[in-house]
């Protein structure tokens, strides 16, 4: 089943969820690591290149995910979930989308601050929409990128912890719905 129903997630939703999860965690780890590399490190140029390509990819997936979500029925929360749990989960989900969007945009502005585009896996170049950003703003954008990325990962850890709690303590279908069935 590719599409969602009111009680289950379809294959496309699940694939988008897990692929974005893996890419985002990878981007975070690589992002932290690459910014501290020595100039003579063999990965000094390679890692930022991959980071930017995957960053663009995750932005594309975010757009697809949003559109797909609008085109599909919304799987309803399990009846065993409390109201506040449902409210919080939905709020965090929206926050995830906004955070990913802002992290992606800030990353884009770091690299295009001088009007140069970003290569997408050596396949094509995403052009810059700005000719030049003022220095203060370019530096601020860099800090925003980092702070939002840390926020995203902290929330993702809580999100994962909540899923595991539902799976192992409450023994409900929350996590299973995102994996099989």
């Amino acid at each position: 089943m590719l599409k969602n129903t009111t009680v289950s997630f379809g294959l496309i939703s699940k694939t988008l969820h897990w692929s974005m999860a893996v890419i985002l965690v990878g981007l975070f780890a690589v992002g932290l690591y690459m910014t501290d590399l020595d100039y003579y490190d063999a990965l000094y140029h390679t890692l930022p290149w991959w980071h930017k390509s995957f960053g663009l990819l995750v932005m594309a997936l975010l757009i697809i995910r949003y559109i797909w979500k609008r085109l599909n029925p919304e799987p309803q929360a399990l009846t065993s979930h409390k109201n506040w749990e449902v409210f919080l989960a939905q709020f965090i989900q929206k926050l995830f989308y906004v955070l990913i969007l802002l992290i992606g945009l800030s990353g884009y502005f770091i690299s295009t601050a001088k009007g140069k585009g970003i290569e997408f896996f050596g396949w094509f170049e995403v052009p810059a929409i700005t000719q030049a950003i003022e220095e203060e703003r370019a530096d601020l954008v860099g800090e925003i990128h980092q702070v939002l990325a840390i926020t995203l990962i902290v929330l993702a850890v809580l999100h994962a912890a909540a899923a595991l709690k539902h799976h192992f303590i409450d023994k409900d279908e929350t996590l299973n719905r995102m994996i099989n069935k």
Partner: protein
């Protein structure tokens, strides 16, 4: 004793006012020039080796300053320049961001770099040596700038202009910039081109 004191005070006052008058007159001869920022006939560039294989040239876009130059008393010439460090520009967004960070210029902590000359000696051929204090990255150090006067004269718009170029070589670590860029890139050349408009 009283009279002696009086005369001494008087003499001192006299010589002081004489000195002031003399200074003022010599000040009249020494022409003051403002660096032509408006028309941007001035630049501050830096040139540093990349791995030992090529030169990377960058510049500071925002700076201001003035100099004085007296044809009769060239040794009295002076230069003052203030540079806005965050205007560093190597035509590469990510590198510029890195150059502004605390790995290099740390522009948040040290928003200004400046140069104040202390000594100027000019030879007959227009080649000169300028000694002064360069403050960069919060560190002040004496540097020697090889200067040559490019030309001087009336401009077509009723003004008088005089231009110099200067180069000096500095070591990054002398100014507390310790980020390792490799053995070929421990030093860089600073290249100044200033056209001054007579005030």
């Amino acid at each position: 004793m009283k009279t002696f004191l009086k005369t001494t005070v008087k003499n001192t006052l006299l010589s002081a006012s004489l000195a002031t008058a003399l200074l003022a007159t010599s000040g009249l001869f020494a022409a003051e020039y403002a660096i032509d920022k408006k028309g941007q006939h001035a630049s501050i560039q830096f040139k540093i080796s990349h791995l030992g294989y090529s030169w990377m040239v960058g510049r500071f876009n925002d700076f201001d300053g003035s100099f004085s130059y007296d044809e009769k008393d060239k040794a009295a010439s002076k230069v003052n320049v203030i540079v806005n460090t965050k205007s560093v520009d190597s035509n590469h967004a990510e590198r510029d961001k890195h150059l502004r960070s605390d790995d290099f210029l740390d522009v948040e902590k040290f928003p200004q770099a400046k140069f104040e000359s202390t000594k100027y000696t000019e030879g007959k051929d227009g080649k000169a040596t300028l000694i002064g204090n360069l403050t960069l990255h919060g560190v002040t150090k004496e540097v020697i700038v090889a200067v040559s006067q490019v030309g001087a004269g009336k401009d077509p718009w009723g003004g008088f202009r005089r231009g110099f170029e200067g180069t000096t070589r500095i070591a990054l670590k002398d100014f507390g910039i310790t980020k390792n860029l490799g053995p070929a890139s421990a030093e860089l050349d600073l290249i100044f081109n200033f056209e001054g408009v007579k005030k």
